[in-house]
Symmetry: C2
Subunit: 152 residues, 2 copies
DNA sequence: TATTGTTATACTCTATAACTATA
DNA sequence: TATAGTTATAGAGTATAACAATA
C-alpha cells in the first residue's frame, strides 16, 4: 500500500523532553547527583533520608501519612522503619486513642544525621540557585507544589 | 547548658515542599498515577516504556545514550534490552565502524505498543493541561528542560 | 465493614566491581 | 589506556494479596 492512513511512524507523541514524567525524572536525576554523593558518605539511603526529613519537619505522625509524604508504599515503609528504629534514628509508639496507629518520632540521633548534612545540603541548593537562577528556581518550586495537588 | 549555640531543632532546612528533589518526586508520583494504570494493562514496566519512547524518538542509538536519556544504569539496561529484544520490541546490531557499540532500533511490534497507548497518553496529558493550566504546564516543562542541563 | 499496619512472595531495579572486546 | 557493554552479586525497593488488630 502506497497510501496509508495509519503511518508506521506517526507524529502522535510529544518529544520526550516535553513528556512531563520523563522531564521530571531527568531533572530529578540532575539534582540528585550531588545529594547521592552526600548520602553515600553516611550510609543513608535516599528513602531513609526522605523519611528523616518528613518526620523531622512535621513531628510525630502515623505511617500512612509518612508513606504519602515520602512517596513510599506501606510495606516498604514497614521494613525501612524497622531498620531505622533498630538503628535508633526513630521511635514508634502506639497511638493513645486509635490503637491501630503507631506514631513515629525522630530521635536525637536521627536529628544528628540531618544536622550533619545541613551545611552541605544547603550549599548544594545555593549552587543550584546560582546556576539556575533564584527567580526561576522559586517559580519552579511553586509550579511543582501546585502540581502535587492536582487530582488526575 | 541553658545557653546553647547549636539548638536541638535548628531551622536549618527548607520545608520538604521547597526541597527540589522531594518536590520533583511528589509531582512525578501525581503524574505517574494514571500512566501506571495505563501501562499495567499491557504488562510494560515504566522503564521499558521510557526506553521505547526514547528509541522511537531518536532512532537507532547506542546503549550508553539510551541509558542517559531513559535514566537507567547500563547493567540494568543490558538486562531489560535482552528481554525486550527477545519479546521482539527492539533489535540490536553491532555498529559498523566501532564494534564495541551496538545500535538499538525499535521494531514494528515495539512501535505498535507505543501507538496502542498514544490516544490514552494524550488524553492524560490533555486532562492535566486542563486542570493545571496550559500556560503553566508549558512554563513548567521549559523550566524542567533547562534544569536537566545544569551541571552541578 | 473499613482502616492501619504487618507479613509473605515474587519480581524488578540499583549499585558496585570485575571482566571482555574493541579503540 | 580508555571506552562500550556484559556479567556477577548483594542489597533494596515495588507491587500485590492476605492477614491481624482495631475502629
Amino acid at each position: 500500500m502506497t497510501t496509508d492512513d495509519t503511518p508506521d511512524t506517526p507524529q502522535s507523541f510529544r518529544s520526550t523532553d516535553r513528556s512531563l514524567p520523563i522531564a521530571l525524572l531527568r531533572a530529578r536525576e540532575t539534582v540528585m547527583g550531588p545529594i547521592r554523593d552526600m548520602l553515600t558518605s553516611s550510609q543513608i539511603s535516599e528513602q531513609k533520608w526522605r523519611i528523616l526529613r518528613v518526620v523531622a519537619e512535621a513531628g510525630p505522625m502515623d505511617q500512612t501519612l509518612i508513606a504519602d509524604r515520602a512517596c513510599l508504599l506501606l510495606p516498604s515503609l514497614t521494613r525501612i522503619l524497622r531498620a531505622m528504629e533498630s538503628d535508633g534514628l526513630l521511635t514508634r509508639v502506639q497511638h493513645a486513642q486509635d490503637k491501630r496507629k503507631s506514631m513515629v518520632s525522630i530521635t536525637p540521633a536521627g536529628r544528628d544525621i540531618i544536622n550533619m548534612h545541613a551545611a552541605q545540603s544547603n550549599a548544594i541548593f545555593e549552587t543550584l540557585e546560582a546556576k539556575f537562577g533564584a527567580d526561576e528556581l522559586h517559580r519552579l518550586l511553586d509550579l511543582l507544589e501546585k502540581l502535587q495537588d492536582i487530582d488526575l
